[in-house]
Symmetry: C2
Subunit: 366 residues, 2 copies
């Protein structure tokens, strides 16, 4: 078992990584004095896999458990879904000392976190992430949110969990496409923060499926990624400065997701393309070598993640979306760009011409 | 000009009380480095009075100002109203560095605060309260929220403003009924925290209208009330313990509001009755003297606030509502009860019989 502490003064919490973490959940929650009533939020498929064991463990430990299921998928990540969680919380007399548990991937985590942040002005929140993306990204750092009809995660709050319980074994039931999408964030941590993690990814023969990974590399991937994110978040909880580096690949990535209406690519895939494009911008600006950019792209290709967007996408439209991005500051587009593997810089000095050139470079040939 | 600082580590902020505070707003905001874009949220009536001056002051100082109006009244304090604020924020390209200003009473303040807390995971928030209730209560302490169809303020967040600008002169346009309702919270601070403030209220010849108050007493009322709330909130921002004392009179008060569907009484009026009932409970338990309880009731009567509920209200229904109250802990009803003027205690040892007796004592004769 490994424990990573996210240091945030009174909001500090532990990430527990262990095969038995689901079973340990209830004892940890008791240690943390998390009240008696628990609302488990999940989606039907995940709940089929892990719901019964989770509830049994909680009830055996004396918790009163109720459940709220939300259909899977980003289209349900709305304020309307949050209102339904509120209704369940109300029907079950949840109190300020009660706990919402997110049992699922990033969508369930983001929504449950937002509901926990805003029900009774904040109840306890525990994350049990079940996808690689949620494990290495969404479950650490306290970003919660839902989508606005006009943009992803525009509505949300910073709200830290009391505990994150990660069981690497849950990944066995994860579809391969989602596994690879999660790997995009792992590669990101390598590029922005942890050159040693990047080296391990480079050395691996295959990265495109959990089956080829081996237990040790999987453990390394999860632990180092969570540690990287915990390091960054501990230094800048509210994204005043440093934390923005976690958005590496996300600026163009989000624009691609939005322009393709979240249908063509899943999040990690769009981020992979975003990283390739950001790499090209960094090379254009002369702050990153072509050789290192190629090393990044090679790891992305080895993971069988996409590196190209469809030929019919409008580069102008991507620029337009970038202007409305919530990471825009004083109406300039900010980019996170690598300077060497393991280190990035933040700049708003990228001209529209350079952006357009980078976007064109990731467009598929006709 | 008086300045009260609410000490909350990195979330500390100033309450500025001065006749010219509306005009000073923009210079203070510049000092605080609050970004360029400002969204002023108000209701049509308040905006008619103060909108033009506020916007002019902000624009002269170089801010880009847009406006969002919400019809007056508690019925509009819903998530749907918040969604409309989000839409305006989006249309005007608000960024994380932008500011939402609440120009209005408690409803506008609570909603604007919640929108500020949750748009882009938190933008800057400034309060310009225009009712006595908002000045002495809602604008200090960071509680934001909206109503759930089944209960008041069930949805919300703790989110501190960057600045509160109070101009006592705005009270001249406040309807007398609302002035008196605000006075209920002032009396509350006297009973729970500041015996000296209570003595000043006792000494005043009349308290039922701003016209009889005099500038000095008004200044005292505002300053001491804000100071009382700032003291309590600084010690317990998230209502883990002490802060609950601010709910004195609110347990039964909220139940009365809810049972009368927020139509018969406005908030402060229900709280006045709630304080009378809580006083009776404290006397029943033998922890407060009959004489001091009468002194409290006399000040409430002098303010021409109600002390009785209609004869046809069902005491059982009030008990039922108390059980669903969000201040309930482990399914017990918690009461804040005076032990002497200026000091209260928190207890969950009140039997349903004593509660029923107290409620019966505040029911009008047939």
């Amino acid at each position: 078992m490994q424990t990573i502490t996210v240091n945030l003064a009174e909001n500090s919490y532990d990430i527990v990584i262990a095969p038995g973490s689901l079973e340990q959940l209830s004892s940890r929650m008791k240690e943390l004095n998390l009240g008696k009533k628990v609302l488990v939020v999940s989606n039907p498929e995940i709940f089929d896999y892990y719901g019964k064991a989770t509830i049994q463990s909680l009830e055996t430990a004396g918790f009163e458990v109720c459940t709220h299921l939300i259909p899977a998928g980003e289209t349900h990540k709305t304020l309307q879904s949050i209102e339904k969680i509120y209704d369940t919380a109300l029907e079950n007399y949840l109190e300020r000392s009660s706990t919402l548990i997110a049992l699922g991937g990033g969508v369930i985590g983001d929504m449950t976190g937002f509901a926990a942040a805003t029900w009774l002005r904040g109840v306890n929140f525990v994350q049990v992430p079940t996808s690689l993306l949620a494990i290495v990204d969404a479950s650490v750092g306290g970003k919660t949110g839902v989508n606005h009809p006009k943009g992803k995660n525009l509505i949300g709050a910073f709200y830290q969990p009391k505990l994150v319980a990660i069981n690497p074994l849950v990944l066995k039931t994860l579809p391969e496409r989602e596994f690879r999408a999660g790997m995009a964030e792992v590669i990101k941590y390598g590029v922005i923060w942890d050159a040693d993690l990047f080296a391990k990814l480079e050395q691996a023969e295959r990265l495109d499926s959990l089956d080829y990974l081996g237990e040790e590399l999987l453990q390394t991937i999860i632990t180092r990624s969570c540690q990287a994110k915990a390091d960054v978040v501990s230094k800048d909880e509210k994204e005043v400065g440093l934390r923005a580096i976690l958005n590496y690949g996300h600026t163009i990535g989000h624009a691609i997701e939005s322009l393709t209406e979240y249908e063509l690519f899943i999040h990690g895939e769009a981020i992979a393309i975003g990283m390739v494009a950001a790499g090209k911008i960094a090379v254009s600006l002369g702050i990153w070598t072509k050789e290192e950019a190629k090393r990044q792209d090679d790891v992305i290709i080895k993971t069988k993640l996409p590196t190209k967007i469809p030929a019919d996408l409008d580069t102008e439209a991507i620029l337009e979306i970038l202007k409305g991005d919530k990471k825009v500051k004083a109406s300039k587009v900010r980019f996170i760009l690598p300077t060497k593997i393991g280190t990035v810089t933040i700049t708003d000095k990228v001209t529209p011409e350079i952006i357009t050139e980078a976007i064109k470079a990731v467009i598929s040939e006709h």
